[in-house]
Amino acid sequence: MTTPEIRDILLENFDGKIGDYHEFAKSEYQKRYGSYIDVADKEWLRDVCLFLRDDDRLQFNSLLCLSTLDNNDSTLSVVYHLESTILRHVLAMKVTVPVTETEVPSITDVWPHANWHEREGWDMMGIRFVGHPDHRRILLEEDYPGHPLRKDFREPTFYHGMKVPY
């Protein structure tokens, strides 16, 4: 099933909650793995994910990757790459939130794989995943100032009394 077909199924069930389809097709592969759909209403994200996982036509049993992205226009995005190992189709979804209010529902209970990726998203991009069971930083120290993968991140001059760069 292609991404537009999956979007049509989603539109039947979540009218107004699903956004546009964006296609990139420099190669066949990019058309399949690079094109994505927007989730317009982030409050519905978890329901959409549950539907994607449990619907017989979709059966997305695996979360491939969860990435975060700074769009440099005061918005941050979370990108979900899903795959059904049973029906052999993939889907990319994007949720965009303003930088002032970076709360996205956690989907750790839908796919446990999201657990560490969401922690990384909080650590690196400062996106708060509401409902995450273990919402801590993962790669950096708990007291690190700021979230390094944001485009406006500046290294602190001092960290724990040490000059940076040393």
Binding site: K26, G34, S67, H81, W116, L139, L140
Partner: protein, 402 residues
């Protein structure tokens, strides 16, 4: 006076507490036990790098494991944002340092797919040859070091001797032994060294002998089987939902290999099997199965290499750098590109904004995802088994922490 009354109260309370404690002590069934917190690593040889495990123990039983990662974090993803695409390649090599060829190839492929580059057939052949050699080299470290974890020292040396031969071929071709920077976007840094096909055939002979030896000596060794069979069982549904890939997923009996299920390069031309765990000495998905999948994959990789050597275009004089674009600047867009490295599915989420630097690169490293399953499969096992489970996951901390 209030103070006196208070202290008196405290004294009586302490007395009664002691009395109850004594009473409990006399009754063996109510022996007070306490959970102990044990820190394993970050400087512990069995954790294969700088991984710290916070283990909650009840006697010798593992109640909970909390992995702490990030000791080897080198800001790979942030670095890429200020590098051009070719400059990213050496950084990619340093993520999965035991399989630099594979991780380099993954990124090169992602950029090629974004730009729509078709690489020459000869380049594809060399790539597959080196990827499979790299897979063997990586699995040799995994199998050997796993034996070392369990207490078998000698097979480790056999494995490293064999791995040395692979590294020799890489060194002759691209000059580096460990971090190659060999796979470039659209091509390769050097042509295949003319002696490699011959060396490769010799290697295959030795390798087949060694494979049998390792299987007899280590894999079906009674002590090894006792230590790893029925330990750390990972059920297939947990593995899929938890994002496991590679030998960890296949060890749970799931026949899933991107070389077959989402073919890239020229893998669809070769005939090879996908070994899965069958619970030969215990339950499906135990530590032994994961190791067994690696041992079998070693043999399958040898079969692929044999086919590559038989069909390699020896007369082809195409320049391996012919398809490399002058200016590597993918059009605006994004991609999630994935390949099967020795550790599993390595994905690159690359976003381009029509510049010479990537806007964002996220590496979905298989070891990171496999390691996140460690708490699920090690609850309730013994401390000694925890070592066996860690070894069977075969993670590289460079890739976990990036």
């Amino acid at each position: 006076m209030p103070e006196i009354i208070d202290s008196h109260k405290i004294a009586t309370r302490a007395l009664t507490k002691e009395a109850t404690f004594r009473a409990e002590k006399l009754e063996p069934r109510r022996v007070r036990t306490e959970e102990m917190l044990l820190n394993m690593g970050p400087q512990h040889p069995s954790t294969h790098g700088v991984l710290r495990l916070e283990v909650v123990l009840d006697g010798e039983l593992v109640v909970d494991v909390r992995p702490h990662i990030g000791y080897l974090h080198r800001c790979f993803e942030k670095h890429t944002e200020s590098m051009t695409y070719p400059q990213v390649m050496p950084y990619v090599d340093r993520t999965d340092y035991l399989a630099s060829m594979s991780s380099g190839h993954g990124f090169a492929l992602a950029v090629e797919r974004m730009m729509g580059i078709e690489v020459p057939e000869k380049v594809e052949y060399i790539r597959v040859l080196f990827l499979e050699l790299q897979r063997i080299a990586s699995h040799l470290v995994a199998i050997g070091a796993y034996g070392l974890d369990i207490g078998a020292f000698t097979p480790f040396l056999y494995c490293f001797e064999l791995r040395e031969r692979i590294i020799e071929m890489f060194e002759r071709t691209c000059g580096a032994r460990f971090l190659y920077n060999y796979m470039w976007v659209g091509g390769l840094s050097h042509d295949l060294h003319p002696t490699v096909p011959e060396l490769c055939r010799e290697f295959l002979k030795e390798s087949r002998k060694a494979h049998k030896e390792i299987v007899d000596l280590l894999t079906f060794n009674k002590i090894f089987v006792e230590r790893t069979g029925n330990v750390g069982i990972l059920p297939a549904d947990v593995a899929i939902a938890g994002g496991a890939s590679g030998p960890v997923l296949r060890g749970s009996g799931v026949k899933w290999d991107l070389r077959r299920d989402d073919p890239y390069s020229i893998y669809d031309r070769f005939d090879f099997d996908i070994p899965v765990g069958t619970g030969l000495v215990g339950a499906v998905g135990d530590a032994w199965d994961r190791n067994w999948v690696r041992v079998c994959e070693w043999e399958e990789s040898m079969n692929i290499i044999e086919q590559v050597l038989d069909t390699y275009p020896y007369e082809d004089t195409t320049n391996v750098q012919a398809a490399i674009p002058k200016r590597i600047k993918p059009p605006a867009g994004e991609i999630y590109s994935r390949t099967e490295t020795p550790r599993g599915e390595q994905g690159y989420y690359v976003v381009s904004r029509d510049g010479i630097n990537p806007w964002r690169v996220k590496q979905r490293s298989p070891a990171f995802c496999n390691l996140s399953l460690l708490p699920h499969i090690s609850r309730g096992c013994l401390v000694g088994d925890l070592i066996a489970i860690i070894g069977s996951l075969d993670f590289v901390l460079g890739e976990v922490d990036r």
